[in-house]
């Protein structure tokens, strides 16, 4: 057991390394709270990737062309890959994969609340790629410089792959927006439903965000929620205009003075309601996750049994050779 003064000294040294932009690697000393914060954030991020496969998977069999179908399949497969990179990064901090999944399946761990909204039409796949992946990229690009090495490296891979996701989504929106009246309406309806939840993806306002200050000091986070949200609105508003679609916010207006778009108030009651499990699809998503996990148990067991049998067979063969 270390004396408290030693701990304070170690913490100072640790902060000095962070301030000098040094990366922290798995076996380095780190404060318990840094480790816990990272495990929480990385595993939530991993859960979001995995649960994020569900709303999109809903449309794979009904994609309107083979081109769209292979793209959507590849995208959903990417999300699985991203979840795996991230679980891997969380495990370098001493977390066990099974415990992380338990946390998800029991509802103790959070995932991005955006995935608790339903995908009602094909245009939703376009809106998700454009807006949801767009917001995710905005959040994730600064994470490539996060102070924890394995997380930063995972994010580099994720960001490289996400840009295809956003482009395929925008292409879907563009096709619909330039299509028939009914298609254009479908695109507008998807934008109407996904716009506000996308803005909520950046999390509570800075004043209400309890983790922000410490995470910024540790250089896990590089920008605040509100900074990133503003950047997203600034980039996305002209993209909507190009599509000829209307963002469902009567207050949205370019502000010559600030050089940014002003936008209306976010319905935080809705946000907290969805976070606390009362969104349109929370139960459905968790049920699908749990079912997939439980129904896969025999496969995981069988693979282990098979591997063990082969190991024993090989060992017996080796023994024979020796004899």
């Amino acid at each position: 057991m270390k004396a408290p003064t030693d701990y304070a000294h170690l913490e100072d040294q640790f902060q000095a390394r962070i301030d000098a932009e040094e990366k922290i690697e798995p076996k380095d000393w780190m404060p318990d709270k840094y480790r816990k914060t990272l495990i929480r954030q990385i595993s939530q991020h991993a859960h979001s990737e995995i649960v994020g496969m569900l709303p999109e998977g809903n449309w794979i069999t009904r994609a309107p062309s083979l081109r769209r179908k292979v793209a959507l399949l590849a995208k959903v497969q990417d999300e699985a890959g991203h979840g795996l990179y991230l679980y891997g990064a969380a495990e370098t901090l001493g977390a066990e994969r099974d415990d992380l999944l338990d946390e998800l399946h029991t509802g103790n761990a959070k995932y991005s609340s955006i995935f608790n909204y339903p995908t009602l039409s094909w245009a939703d796949i376009g809106a998700i790629g454009w807006l949801v992946d767009g917001a995710a990229i905005m959040n994730q690009v600064p994470l490539c410089r996060c102070s924890y090495g394995p997380y930063a490296r995972a994010m580099v891979r994720v960001c490289k792959e996400e840009s295809f996701h956003q482009r395929q989504g925008y292409e879907i929106m563009l096709t619909l927006a330039r299509g028939t009246e009914a298609q254009k309406k479908m695109a507008q309806d998807a934008l109407n439903r996904w716009w506000w939840p996308s803005l909520m993806m950046f999390g509570p306002n800075d004043a209400a965000s309890k983790h922000t200050a410490q995470s910024m000091a540790w250089k896990i986070k590089r920008f605040t929620n509100d900074e990133l949200r503003q950047r997203f609105v600034d980039i996305t508003a002209p993209q909507a205009e190009f599509l000829g679609l209307t963002i469902p916010d009567e207050h949205l207006k370019y502000n010559e003075e600030t050089g940014h778009y002003d936008f209306g108030p976010i319905n935080w009651d809705e946000f907290w309601q969805v976070v606390s499990g009362e969104g349109p699809c929370n139960r459905q998503r968790l049920k699908a996750r749990r079912r997939a996990h439980e129904e896969g148990q025999w496969v995981r067991d069988a693979a282990l049994a098979h591997a063990e049998k082969r190991r024993q067979r090989q060992a017996a063969k080796n023994n024979q050779k020796v004899a």
Binding site: E25, D28, P150, R153, R300, L304, A307, R311
Partner: protein, 96 residues
């Protein structure tokens, strides 16, 4: 339910093209080495990132500890004579 037994963790190394080293890219779980290679193919080489894969069970890796880094790496700090710039030569001498 089965007793809680998990697939072991494997570290994955990928050679991105011939002529380059295998490089550590991350880890994953698999029941055995063969499955680790198959999973690594799906997880780490979806966009032609590799031509060869090595997998090794994480528990078989012995790593140096950050606490040792002084004793391991510091002795090299004061051995600047191992670097070419330590030696003073006149500018007229070319190609050296």
């Amino acid at each position: 339910m089965s007793e809680k037994k998990n697939w072991p963790l494997w570290e994955i190394f990928i050679r991105s093209k011939n002529g380059l080293n295998h490089k550590h890219v991350g880890s994953l779980h698999a029941a055995d080495a063969e499955m680790a290679i198959e999973n690594a193919r799906d997880v780490y080489t979806r966009r032609m990132e590799g031509v060869s894969i090595w997998v090794v069970e994480s528990e078989h890796i012995t790593a140096s500890s950050p606490n040792q880094s002084e004793s391991l790496f510091d002795p090299a700090n004061d051995k600047v004579y191992r670097h070419p710039t330590f030696y003073n030569l006149p500018d007229e001498v070319k190609h050296m």
